[in-house]
């Protein structure tokens, strides 16, 4: 890794840039209906923002932002959200992932629109959590700088 003294600048830039990347990532996730984008792309951008901070500002600082222990549980939470919407639709009589049967207001197409939104959020969370967890795991062996 870089020597301690000259990564102050990079660290600072990374730390300031990271929140903005995250906001744009959230925009990409939620705006997937109307413009290109969606769960996966948004999730990876979130992960990129987190990894940027880990790379630039060193590991110990990055733990404050997104501690290592959160990675896999967040990922599992994302997939559970996805599975949950499908299962709820199944409980309400439809087939496994049939959003028309979700107990929401509005006409069928509107319910599908909301169903897709849940899916996007689930996917985004899962991708972000898991990619950061994989990055942390790959980083394991290295002595702390």
């Amino acid at each position: 890794m870089m020597r301690r003294d000259d990564d102050v600048i990079i660290g600072l830039v990374a730390r300031t840039a990271s929140p903005f990347i995250m906001i744009f990532a959230l925009y990409v996730i939620f705006h997937g209906h109307y413009s290109p984008g969606g769960g996966f792309q948004g999730g990876t951008m979130l992960a990129a923002a987190l990894i940027l901070v880990r790379l630039a500002a060193g590991d110990d600082l990055a733990q404050l932002q997104f501690p290592r222990a959160w990675g896999t549980p967040l990922g599992s939470a994302g997939v559970l959200i996805y599975w949950g919407t499908g299962f709820v639709a199944m409980l309400c009589g439809g087939n496994f992932l049939d959003y028309a049967f979700l107990p929401l207001a509005g006409a069928a197409p509107h319910r599908r629109n909301l169903g897709i939104l849940f899916i996007e959020v689930g996917v985004g969370l899962a991708v972000c959590g898991i990619l950061t967890a994989i990055y942390d795991d790959l980083l394991e062996g290295r002595p702390r700088d």
Partner: protein, 93 residues
Amino acid sequence: MFGAVLVLAGMSLPDRGDPRARLHRDPSAAGTPNAPSYYIRSPERDADTPNMVTVILADYRGFDTMGEETVILTAGLICFLILRRERSKEKRS
């Protein structure tokens, strides 16, 4: 083995028609409605979202995307599984 792939690349010269203007594939499904053309016409009507790709991804073929999630989750769990020992060994040493 490598030679076989070379022959495959050369031989696999299926006359697939010109990819650039090849629309005949869409309506020509024998007997069944053709998926790609349906995907273009109906996402607006079905789920009032203009972005067809998202609609297909989440709604029509939502199960594939759930499969993707599981693929990522498996990769995460396996990295956790394989590299976990290094972490605890490190603590001991």
